[in-house]
């Protein structure tokens, strides 16, 4: 879906002191997509650009404007890259390189990547988010925010490729994996992810609207979930069957 991915394209000049980039793509439970979409809406982030694929296989129409499926938003010192389509194996490296290119050109201090980890029979009232960092300095951020560290387990599929690319780049990255239902849209897990991001970034995100929409999010996202699973299954994704050990 990201055939012949080009470099990220920004519509206007960006300030050089921006620090955090939130990254959400369709994955287990659609956590990344739902969480980052809500944060973008809550913070009233501005659409500032797109990561282009050429030729575009799909476009969206929003407010009478044609927009691509992978978009870049900004508010203050926070950027967000959101994909409304699953990133398949053929294009995931190009996608990750585009994200890194964008981050380097905009002096991003930290990337927060959001995803899920399969936990059968999880308790929706006490979901956990586990953190994985590529830079030692971010270990303290996990500790300060009481985020258990992802100590052992397997990450596969697009997440693995993206994390490998980010790890090999010089940009500090924090991956947040929340316990979720891997096969169905999981707004409860997305909400837990939002709470965790809210703590890390010290921003207040009102979840009232999100809570009202939980059932509808599950209904509306059936198609995207199906497409995402098809992509992940094509890559022989195997969900981790056990949650990682708790960070001490």
């Amino acid at each position: 879906m990201f055939k012949t991915m080009q470099k990220s394209k920004i519509k206007k000049e960006l300030p050089k002191n921006s620090t955090t980039l939130l990254l959400g793509i369709p994955g287990p439970g659609l956590i990344g997509t739902m969480a980052i979409t809500y944060i973008i809406q809550s913070l009233k982030m501005d659409l500032i650009g797109e990561i282009e694929s050429s030729p575009a296989s799909i476009v969206f129409v929003d407010n009478g404007q044609i927009v691509g499926p992978v978009r870049i938003y900004k508010k203050g010192k926070t950027f967000a890259i959101l994909s409304d389509i699953p990133v398949d194996y053929d294009n995931v490296v190009d996608f990750a390189e585009s994200v890194i290119d964008f981050a380097k050109r905009n002096n991003i201090g930290m990337i927060i990547f959001t995803s899920g980890i399969h936990v059968p029979d999880r308790n929706v009232t006490s979901l956990k988010t586990y953190g994985l960092v590529t830079n030692e300095k971010l270990e303290k951020t996990l500790y300060d925010n009481e985020i258990p560290k992802f100590l052992s387990g397997i990450i596969s599929g697009p997440d693995a490729t993206i994390l490998t690319q980010l790890k090999n780049s010089s940009i500090p990255t924090m991956a947040l994996h929340t316990e979720c239902n891997y096969f169905f849209p999981d707004p409860d897990a997305a909400m837990q992810t939002i709470k965790t991001i809210s703590r890390i970034m010290k921003i207040d995100i009102d979840l009232t609207e999100f809570k009202k929409q939980i059932d509808y999010l599950r209904l509306q996202n059936r198609q995207l979930m199906e497409e995402t699973l098809n992509v992940m299954q094509a890559q022989r994704e195997q969900p981790s069957s056990t949650p990682p050990q708790i960070y001490k």
């Binding site: 929706v124 239902n181 096969f183 169905f184 849209p185 939980i214 059932d215 509808y216 599950r218 209904l219 059936r222 198609q223 979930m225 199906e226 497409e227």
Partner: protein, 129 residues
């Protein structure tokens, strides 16, 4: 189904994918489901948001299991100026062979229907040489 219907269905499936197209064709929402094989059973999970347990119907006919559920609120999908209303979920799933149908059980929690279908415990003995 006529040839024309068949062609149109193929085209629509290409554009919208199976789930959304099935919604419109049958006027019923098609829930997501996941069938998993376990050591001694098969488990079918069906995602049924906006559903109360009392409005849930599960029927077994030969090797097909059908789940039908009335929504607590009408769900509308808009496409251009057309609005389609949905009041039901419905899905029929072909079951794997060799299930002990008398032992099938189901529970419904947090909008997810979980149907457990045990594999037969006894069978023909095979001698090991």
């Amino acid at each position: 189904m006529s040839d024309f219907s068949s062609i149109i269905e193929k085209q629509m499936n290409y554009v919208f994918g199976n789930t959304l197209f099935d919604d419109f064709i049958h006027k019923e929402l098609v829930p997501l489901s996941h069938l998993k094989e376990r050591h001694a059973s098969w488990t079918l999970e069906v995602d049924l948001p906006l559903v109360d347990k009392k409005n849930l119907e599960v029927t077994l006919a030969e090797n097909h299991l059908t789940v039908k559920a009335k929504l607590t609120k009408t769900y509308c999908i808009s496409r251009g100026s057309a609005v389609t209303e949905f009041d039901y979920f419905k899905k029929t799933v072909k079951l794997p062979g060799g299930i002990n149908t008398k032992q099938i059980s189901a529970n419904f929690k947090n909008g997810i229907l979980k149907i457990t279908m045990p594999k037969p415990a006894d069978g023909k003995k095979i001698s090991v040489k």
